[in-house]
């Protein structure tokens, strides 16, 4: 009661002054994209470049920018008189609502296509928002199968979805295990707590028993987790034949390092979309921890000249050529190819061109694109293994650069 004067005690002038100040600030904050050029083809790039997945978001942004630079260097969109691609950058901050707001802002700016959003939750929100203006939206990394199952005519994914990856991972693990005389009978899953890790754990728990591997324990951890000592002690106590991590980069590195320090012995470490298992940075910085780890992940075709040239270009720029870089690169190139074939910036025409895409200049082990309900049917992961400090492809055979070493011989 002593604060009565503070309780709604604004008079009209004070209120109008404060409201005016806030409105003024809002108006001066009017998006710069509205002042952008109109003759270029504007591609919105929305990634989590700040927040807890900023490393991956920044890698995505770099890959997408590389694609735009390459396409522009080749003369832009020929069917539009050599129109140059113009990147309009957005930061989702790792939050779906911020990603969706960026889409609305870009749509106002007359964006012609969007590549987003790294995480599945963000991709779900951005594609849904883009659907309201029928803006072509290509998902670069988000793996949730729901992304392309909602019937949105503007939403496409060049890379594989989760169901395909999990099916592939289990089938290949079965092959690798059987080829070695089935030494792996038990497995332990260590996963992060969000959609990606939990989804992986659920699928593997259901499918591993069908190939004769018993899951002896499943451990979930929070993001971030900085001490894996207790989890590794649990692994040692269970002594599984296979250790299956499903975590983001930092946690994966810490888990792998702790396992190495605690001298955990297992017949294999087999990741599904392992955050670091197929990452050049991890292999370069922690070669001992990375040694012999197998992964089922997005990867380029090691026999493709296109892929190797892009890898070299990325490394010349000081980038690690991670899956974020080449998937975002290809997502932009996939969209640019559709604009080229559409010969128009009409959104419906670009969406139709994406739906009919047969693009094959991607350097991925996919074959020409074949889109059904927005999903590229040819997209598939591969199995990699770190052998002597090099990430080698071990499956499928037609893309393999080395033989699998299993059981591992650490």
């Amino acid at each position: 009661m002593t604060r009565q004067a503070n309780k709604g005690g604004l008079d009209r002038r004070a209120f109008l002054a404060a409201g005016g100040a806030a409105l003024g600030a809002g108006i001066t904050g009017f998006p710069a994209v509205l002042r952008a050029q109109t003759e270029s083809v504007k591609i919105g790039l929305i990634h989590p470049v700040s927040g807890f997945i900023a490393f991956s978001g920044n890698q995505c942004r770099e890959g997408a920018l590389m694609a735009i630079a390459d396409i522009n260097a080749r003369g832009g969109i020929q069917s539009l008189g050599g129109a140059q691609l113009e990147a309009v950058l957005g930061d989702s901050q790792g939050k779906p609502e911020v990603g969706a707001a960026e889409v609305a802002k870009m749509a106002e700016a007359g964006i012609h296509g969007i590549v987003a959003g790294y995480a599945s939750s963000i991709s779900l929100a951005t594609s849904q928002e883009a659907a309201k203006t029928n803006t072509p939206h290509v998902v670069d990394v988000g793996v949730s199968d729901e992304i392309t199952k909602r019937g949105l005519e503007n939403t496409f994914r060049f890379s594989p979805g989760y169901g395909k990856i999990a099916e592939f991972a289990v089938a290949n693990l079965d092959t690798i295990n059987k080829n070695a005389g089935s030494p792996a009978k038990t497995a332990m899953i260590i996963h992060e707590e969000s959609l990606f890790g939990t989804g992986t754990a659920n699928l593997l728990n259901a499918q591993l028993p069908q190939i004769g591997i018993e899951v002896v324990d499943t451990i979930k951890h929070a993001n971030p987790t900085r001490d894996f000592t207790n989890i590794v002690l649990q692994i040692k106590s269970n002594a599984p034949d296979l250790i299956i991590p499903a975590n983001y980069y930092n946690e994966y590195v810490l888990l792998a390092r702790t396992m190495r320090q605690q001298q955990v012995s297992a017949k294999g470490i087999y990741s599904v979309l392992g955050g670091a298992a197929s990452n050049y940075q991890f292999v370069a910085e922690f070669p001992e921890a990375a040694d012999m780890i197998m992964d089922c992940n997005h990867w380029f075709d090691p026999n493709s000249e296109v892929a190797l040239q892009r890898k070299k270009a990325a490394e010349d720029k000081g980038l690690y050529y991670t899956y974020e870089v080449f998937l975002a690169y290809n997502a932009v190139a996939f969209l640019a190819d559709a604009i080229e074939r559409a010969g128009s910036l009409d959104k419906a025409a670009v969406n139709a061109a994406l739906a009919e895409s047969t693009w094959d200049d991607h350097g991925m082990p996919y074959g020409p694109t074949k889109i059904e309900n927005g999903q590229n049917q040819g997209a598939q992961p591969v199995n990699t293994q770190v052998l002597d400090g090099v990430i080698e492809v071990i499956y499928p055979d037609q893309f393999a650069s080395a033989e699998a070493v299993f059981p591992m011989t650490r």
Binding site: K7, G8, D91, P96, A125, Q128, L195
Partner: protein, 330 residues
Amino acid sequence: MRPLVVLAVTFALIGLAPFAIASDYWLNLVIMTLYAALLGQAWNILGGYGGQFSFGHAAFFGTGAYAVAVLQVELGLNPWLGLAAGGLLAAGVGAFVGFCTFRYGLRGSYFALVTLAFAEVLRILSNSVWFTGAGVGILIPLERGAASFQFVDKAGFFWVIWGMALAAFATAWWIGHSRFGAQLMAVRDNEDAARALGVDAFRVKMAAITLSGFFSGLAGVFYAQYFLYLDPYIAYGPAISVESLLVPIIGGMGTIFGPLLGAAALQAVAELTKEVVGEAPGISLAVYGTLLVVMVLFMPRGLAGLGARIAGLGPRARRRRAARLEARNA
């Protein structure tokens, strides 16, 4: 009656937004401002008027959000019914948290920590049980139409959040002008003195936390229907709790308009920093944080307090003060 008139005029002016704003981007900004104002007012009812600082309003927000999502996805319940259920369940969680804390006399930092713990417990639970989708989260099927609370255009969502915010702000006005509100503020200012005067502190705090939980739950329902996806971190994560208390702290705690001013200022600062510092990753957030620190340091009573202080410097205010002084001396 003056604050009520200002409130009515303010909301009437905000209500012009769908007619005056053709841009989806700007309308979205208004919607998100009203959403933040609703969250902030929910916290303000308990923290600003009641003096009970909660660090865990995500517990109520997440309950409302998950209620509408789970009832829809698992039981096929219409989301409009889920709206009521979400608000009521969140109010129930508020009452439970209130009973567990006020019953045992927890105040100040102890109360704040316990509310934080409740939100964390609910986050872990939602990460573990099947019906919330556990860590995978829950996706509300896309089914555009007013009947399924998924409007085709933003104006529909605007009217929903406008209505929710108006209800919360009208409640805050009522608190400021009712016997219950007087008792609540008495408890805030000196609980022991209030008890000595016959105020049932437990009862009024329980009513405040239940009301606060209800409006937070409504904000959760709105979020779920607007973005159609939830996971434990989105629903029960600390970001929501921080946003809930930041809005009234910046705008002015214990005032009707504080949450609205705070929400508008936070949105404006966020957009402004994004535009000023451009596309450098994370810099806008650093500038945003610095600005908030400066605002809290130099405006301890929030924007509403600053407004009142500025108003106090005007010639009319000076004349009024002089007249009061003269009357006192006469």
